[in-house]
Symmetry: none
Subunit: 534 residues, 2 copies
C-alpha cells in the first residue's frame, strides 16, 4: 500500500511529543524511536526541527546514514522564513532545505492576532512568508506540508484570513494543510464543521493535528477524517505538551478495526502494543496501564461473576480480539492464563514444560511472586532463562560463589566548597568470590558504584573464566517503583550486556539500588558464561 | 439548581471506578471520597453494591449517619432479582431495599445472548425480572434508574429485545435508562444514533455510561447528551476496569465551559482540580500529569518560542482560563527556553529580571549550559530558584559547608550462597560539615546509599538547624541519560521533599549516581532552610 498516497499516518512523537514535560531524549533515543515507528508502518516520521537546536540537527545528519526506513519517510519540521528576508537567506529555512528530509512540514501562523503579537509582522507579510518558503522548498524538490498553527481559533477570529493562509500555501505547492488545534479546546462536532468548510472553500487536501485538552483528541481526529481529512497527526502514547497529542495508535486502531479503513501495512497493527511499550522504555515514562488498546489493563477482566460465560464466548466481554493490537486478554484472579504463556515462553527458550503441568504451575507461581516484588521478566529474558533453568534443573546455574562485596563512594579529600558542592566523588569496589576451587579478591574503580562493582566482579571472575573479558555492559536502566516512598522505594534495574555477538538483559530488584544492580550484574555474567559453556 | 432534576451528573467512582486493577478502598476511604464528590456538587453518588459484599453493606450503613451530603443523593447499585423467585424474596433485592439509599440503580441484561449465557434464563423471564424488581423498589418509595448492561452490543444483536427491556423498565416506573457501553467499543456517531432511536422508540429518559476502550469515552458521552441524553455517568480521574470509565470532570467541564450548560452548582467546578487530586490521595494512584483540565501539566507551557507572546496575552496560548477548574498556568524551563520565558519564570518565583536584560541573558545561557549537561529544571523548581538566587545575589545560598562525605555499601559477613546471591547488603554514610561556626561529623544508616546519605546529612545539619527534622524526602526519581553507555552513562536524579506544608523538587546530575543524588539532597535541604529562614 502507498503510505505516502491517499491517506497519511503522520507521526510527530519525535517533535511535538517531546514537548511533554520531563521528556528530553538523546539523539540515540530518537533514532531508536524512529526505528520502532517504522516497524509500526507509519507513513511519515517527523524527526524534529533541524537548525533550531543542535540535537535535532544531529538527528537528521545521523538519520541519513543510520536509519534504514522500510515504510516511513522522514519529515523535518520548521517555520516559515522570518519577516523581511528572502527564504533563501534565512538560515533556519536553509537548515530545512539541507536536512536531507524528503518532506518538510512548515508551521505557519493562520490566526491574525498571533501574526501581529507573536510574529510582529503584517498579515500581508505573513502570507508572503508562507508563499516564499513553500515555493523555495518545492524548488528544492521537497514535499511540503503546512501545519496551520492555532487554525481553529484563527478561523473563529478571522475566517477569511485563516482560509487565505491555506490557499496561499496550496497555490505555492503545499500538498497538505494540517489544521492544528494548537491550544486543544475543540470538540468533535466543531472540528467536523471547520474541516468541511475548509475543503469546500479551498479545494485543498486537509490534515488534522489535535491535542487532548478536552479529553477528545482521538474523537476530534476521527471527526476530521469523517469530514474528509486524509492526513492524521498524532504521537505514540499520546505524548505531548500539556495534556498530550492525539494518541496515534488509538486513532489508527479505531480507523482500521472500527471503521474498516486500511491505513497501515497489513498485519503491522499487531505490533502496536510491543512498540508502544518499547518506546515507553526509551522515554522511560511508565506506560499507562489504562491506555486504550495497548495498556496492560486494556483487556484485563475481573473474573468471577461471568467466568462461565467468558469461557463459552470471550467476545461477549471484549470489544475486539486483543491480538489485533498485539495485546492479550487477562483474567485478574485466575492463573490459567499465566501457565499457557509460561509454557510458550519456556518452549521459546528450549524448555519443554507441556509434559509437566505441576512444574509449569510452580514456575507460574514463582514468576507471579517475583513480579509482585517488582521483578519484570518481559524485558529480562536472560534472568527469566536462569529462573527456568533453576526450576527445571533443581538449582540455579552457578559458576562462582560470592563471599562478599563492598563498594565505597567518597569525596576526594579537599577543602569543602560553598553551598555544599563538595569535591568530586570517587568509587572503589572490592569483590571476594570462589571459582573453580580458588578464592579471588579483586578491587575495581569506577565513576559510579555500579561501574566499580562491574569492574571488580568481572576482574575477579575473569581469573577463572577468561571469556568474561569479552562481556561488555551496554545499557543500564533504573526505574523507581512505588513512587511516593522517597529513597525507601523499590528499585528495578535492567542491565544489557553483549559479548560482541549477542546481547542479553538481566534484572535486579530491591530497596537498595546498589544491591538491585548487583543482582543484575551477577545474572548477566552467569548467563553469559552459561551460553559460552554450552 | 435542581441536581436531581432535568440533568443528572451521576458519579460511579465508588462502584464502577473501584473495578480498576489495584484499587481496593476501605469503607473509611469510600466515605472520604463521597464527601469530596459532594463538594464537587454531583447529583448522585453511587456508593456500591450493598448485599453483594460486606464492605459495601457497611458503607451504606455508616453513610446513613456519617455522611452529611449537601448536594448529592446516594444511589445503591444492584442487580434485578434472580430467575424464578419473587423480588421480595430475593435477599440481594432486599439489601437494596433496606440500604437506606433514596436511589437504586438496577443493572439489567439487555443483550439477548448475555441473558441466555450469563443469566441462563429465558428472554421472557429476564423481562419479568426487570418488571418485578423495579416495581418492588418503587413501591418501597425509592427512585429507580436502570443500567442497561451491554446495551449497545445488545442493540446491534437484537434491537427489538434491547428496546423491550427499556420499555419494561419505564412501564414499571424506572425514571432513567442508562445505556451502558459495557465493553467500550463504541464511537461518538454510533452512540448518537442509538440514543436518538431509543428516545423515539421508547419515549423514556435516557442516560449514558461509557468506557474508554477506544479512547473516546468523553466524546461518546457528549455525543449522547447532544442527542438528548440528560443523565451522564462517569468516574473521577476516569477510574474503572480496563481502560477506565468516562472521566466525569472532563465531561462536566466540557458541558459547562465549552457547551454552556450549567450542570453543577455555581462555582463548584473551580474545586475540580483540588478534588481530583484529593481523591487520588485516597486511592493512592498518582494523578496523571496529562489529565485533561486537572492534570499538573494541563496548563504547562514549554516552548520558549511562544513565551514573548504569552506575556502579551496568555489567552492566545490556552483554550480557557485554568482558574475555571481550579488549575494554574505554569511555564516550564527547558533547553528551548528563551530569555522571555526565563523572565516570566523568574517573576513567578519572585525575581524581577525585566530591568536587567544582561542578567536575564546570562541566566538563560547558564540554564542552557546546565541542561546540555543533563540537568532538567522544568520539574525542579527549587533547584532553579537556587540557581536564580545565586545569579541574582552573586552567590549561592549556603547554610553549611561540606567538608567531605563517604558512603559504604557492603554485604553483611556470611557464607556466600550459590549463584552469586550473596547476603543482604547494608549501607552506612558519614558526612562531615561546618555550620554556624561548628564542625559536625555524623553517621547515618539506610536501606540504600542515598537513604543513608540523607539520614547522615540531615542529622548533621539538624544540629545547627533543628527545623530540618521536619523535612521528609517523599519521592526519588532516577533517569539514565544517553543510554547505550552502560554504567558510564549520565544519571539525572530528581528528589521531592516536603516540610509537611509544601513540597519542592531538586535535581542532581552526574556520571556517578550517588554524587548526583547528593547534589539533589544538598539542594533540597538548602532550599528548605532558605524558605524557613525567609
Amino acid at each position: 500500500m502507498d503510505l505516502q498516497g491517499a491517506f497519511h499516518v503522520y507521526d510527530t512523537t519525535l517533535r511535538d511529543g517531546m514537548q511533554q514535560e520531563g521528556l528530553n531524549p538523546t539523539v540515540a533515543d530518537k533514532l531508536a524511536i524512529a526505528r520502532q515507528l517504522d516497524e509500526l508502518g507509519v507513513g511519515f516520521i517527523e524527526g524534529g526541527w533541524p537548525g533550531a537546536n543542535p540535537k535535532d540537527t544531529e538527528f537528521f545528519r545521523r538519520a541519513a546514514t543510520e536509519l534504514d526506513l522500510k515504510h516511513a519517510k522522514l519529515a523535518a519540521f520548521g517555520a516559515t522564513r522570518r519577516a523581511g528576508v528572502r527564504a533563501a537567506d534565512d538560515p533556519l529555512v536553509a537548515a530545512l532545505r539541507d536536512s536531507g528530509a524528503p518532506v518538510v512540514t512548515l508551521v505557519a501562523k493562520s490566526h491574525d492576532r498571533h501574526v501581529e503579537l507573536a510574529l510582529r509582522t503584517t498579515l500581508e507579510e505573513n502570507l508572503a512568508m508562507v508563499r516564499d518558503t513553500v515555493s523555495h522548498l518545492r524548488e528544492n524538490g521537497q514535499t511540503v506540508f503546512l501545519d496551520a498553527e492555532h487554525f481553529f481559533d484563527g478561523y473563529r477570529a478571522n475566517r477569511a484570513y485563516a482560509l487565505e493562509v491555506l490557499r496561499t500555501a496550496f497555490e505555492a505547492g503545499a500538498e497538505v494543510a494540517a489544521l492544528c488545534d494548537t491550544n486543544g479546546g475543540m470538540l468533535p462536532a466543531w472540528v467536523s464543521d471547520v474541516v468541511l468548510d475548509v475543503q469546500t472553500s479551498t479545494g485543498g487536501r486537509v490534515g488534522i493535528h489535535c491535542h487532548n485538552d478536552t479529553g477528545t483528541a482521538v474523537a476530534n481526529t476521527l471527526a476530521a477524517v469523517d469530514a474528509g481529512a486524509t492526513h492524521v497527526q498524532g504521537t505514540i502514547n499520546g505524548y505531548g505538551e500539556r495534556t498530550g497529542n492525539a494518541d496515534l495508535i488509538s486513532v489508527v486502531a479505531n480507523l482500521e478495526l472500527k471503521l474498516d479503513r486500511r491505513v497501515l501495512p497489513q498485519g503491522l497493527l499487531r505490533e502496536a502494543t510491543r512498540i508502544a511499550h518499547g518506546i515507553a522504555e526509551v522515554t522511560n515514562v511508565p506506560p499507562a496501564s489504562r491506555q486504550p488498546y495497548v495498556g496492560s489493563s486494556a483487556f484485563a477482566h475481573k473474573a468471577g461473576l461471568h467466568a462461565s460465560a467468558i469461557k463459552v464466548d470471550p467476545m461477549l466481554y471484549q470489544h475486539m480480539d486483543p491480538m489485533g493490537v498485539g495485546n492479550d486478554m487477562r483474567l485478574l484472579v485466575s492463573d490459567m492464563a499465566g501457565r499457557a504463556s509460561i509454557e510458550l515462553k519456556g518452549k521459546e527458550l528450549g524448555f519443554d514444560l507441556s509434559e509437566d503441568k505441576e512444574l509449569a504451575t510452580a514456575i507460574t507461581h514463582r514468576v507471579k511472586e517475583l513480579e509482585s516484588q517488582g521483578f519484570s521478566f518481559e524485558a529480562a529474558d536472560a534472568s527469566f532463562e536462569l529462573l527456568l533453568a533453576e526450576m527445571v534443573e533443581g538449582e540455579r546455574p552457578a559458576f562462582f560463589e560470592i563471599e562478599s562485596w563492598r563498594v565505597v563512594t567518597e569525596t576526594v579529600p579537599q577543602t569543602g566548597t560553598a553551598g555544599g558542592r563538595a569535591g568530586e566523588a570517587v568509587c572503589e569496589a572490592i569483590v571476594k568470590l570462589h571459582a573453580q576451587g580458588e578464592r579471588f579478591v579483586l578491587v575495581g574503580e569506577g565513576n559510579g558504584p555500579v561501574n566499580a562493582l562491574d569492574h571488580a566482579l568481572r576482574q575477579a571472575i575473569g581469573r577463572a573464566y577468561p571469556e568474561v573479558a569479552k562481556f561488555e555492559l551496554i545499557d543500564f536502566k533504573v526505574r523507581i517503583l512505588d513512587q511516593g516512598h522517597g529513597t525507601d522505594a523499590i528499585t528495578r534495574v535492567l542491565i544489557e550486556t553483549t559479548d560482541g555477538a549477542i546481547s542479553w538483559v538481566t534484572v535486579g530488584v530491591g530497596a537498595n539500588i546498589i544491591e538491585a544492580s548487583w543482582q543484575a550484574l551477577v545474572d548477566s555474567v552467569t548467563y553469559g558464561l552459561r551460553k559460552h559453556q554450552a
